[in-house]
Amino acid sequence: MAMNYPVRQRSFKPPKDLAEYPVGIAFPAGHLVETNASWRSHRPVLDAGKCTNCRICWLLCPDGVIHTSKPGGLEIDYDYCKGCGICAKECRQKAIRMENEAL
């Protein structure tokens, strides 16, 4: 599920007291609490013309923010993309370009 538009609206209920904390630092997956804090310096930009839809980027994105639900192509969720550039490096078609957005 995290690989395809997580239900961002799933509400995070802060624990009220110690008894509501998990044992061990753990939380059910699927919760995205805050968008990235704008520390991304480069954003991946997809060239749909070059993309063969092989989904290597989707598979390797460490944050699972490349989504396949959009008909006809991929979509990068810039709210959560951290700009690591793995997708651009791994794309064999060179269909992803890292664009400087810190300027």
Partner: protein, 387 residues
Amino acid sequence: MMPAQKVFLSGNEAVAAGVRLARPHVIAAYPITPQTTVIERLAEMVEDESLKAEYLHVESEHSALSACIGASAVGARTFTATSSQGLLYMAECLHYASGGRFPVVMMNANRSLALPWNIYGDQRDSLSLLDCGWIQVYAEDAQESLDLIIQAYAIAEHPDVLTPMMINLDGFVITHTYELVSLPSQEDVDAFLPPFLTTNKMDLDHPMSLAFTAGPAYNQAFKQLQHQAVVSASKIICEVEERFGQRFGRNYPGLLETLYCEDAEFILVTLGSVAGTVRPVVEKLRSLGERVGLVRIRYMRPFPDTEIRNALAGAKAVGVLEKDISFGYEGTVFTNVNSALMRAKVQPPRLLNFVGGLGGKDISAEDIEQLFLRLKRPDDGETVVFI
């Protein structure tokens, strides 16, 4: 109970035998004197398939514990062993394991810390890491070492505890000394120690984020829970020891052991193998009519504060003998004993801190007799005494 086998084992070999009986899934360790023979025996057991475990050859102690944490995070029972510099090299991961509530069991061969370089036993390695959130226990001999390994999994994996546990053996004095050890049967250990079950693990059916960040709003609560868990381990330790005694016929006294403290005027408090030297001296002085006693601290965390107060309540003078010094102040065991006594609303006995055995310096029976004599002498204002 199945008949136990009597075998002649070193402390390290007794630990390895205990680990095999506990059936860990993953062992990751890096060799260091005087721990090496533990993991050599375990590697042989894995190779000859008498122990069905994954044995990971790692490149450092930091990696050894990291591997155990990772394995524990998928619900595996894990074991590692180290000593001295290796334990310090693990320091970062010690906090990861306890903070993540991964019940890794580790044997530490107590050994001095460089410099000067030295491979012999003292307890500065583990005592300098008393605050890392692990349960810490100190064995007196090979049998206790073996029994503690088996008990450790039952304690550390208990749902109220879920905290890693460090079993300390004095380097060489315990690790390399051969003793006759009673080896429990696998059937009995299996009945005593069921497989490890936890919900604090990666699980495809219940996907969770594990071991993540907690900011200022939530971080302290996790630390409070960790503290509660170690405190509640006191009760679990006693329950586990009772169950152990019923099944294996060997009874352990809880967080500390006392000898003649009921009416003793002069008491030595110590931990680890040196208690074995103090014991016959106490017996001898008792036979001469001296009212002397011994407290052997077994667990440093959780700390037996109530038990310390009870044991030392009637004493005139108490000496804390430890192989440790917190430079510029006093020994860490002394600090803890002193703190426990300060909480008692009675006039505390006179307290002396005997620091000895550093870098393996011998502590003889004659030295112990001298310590009791020193306790009887009038207060000369000195607290920390190197022996």
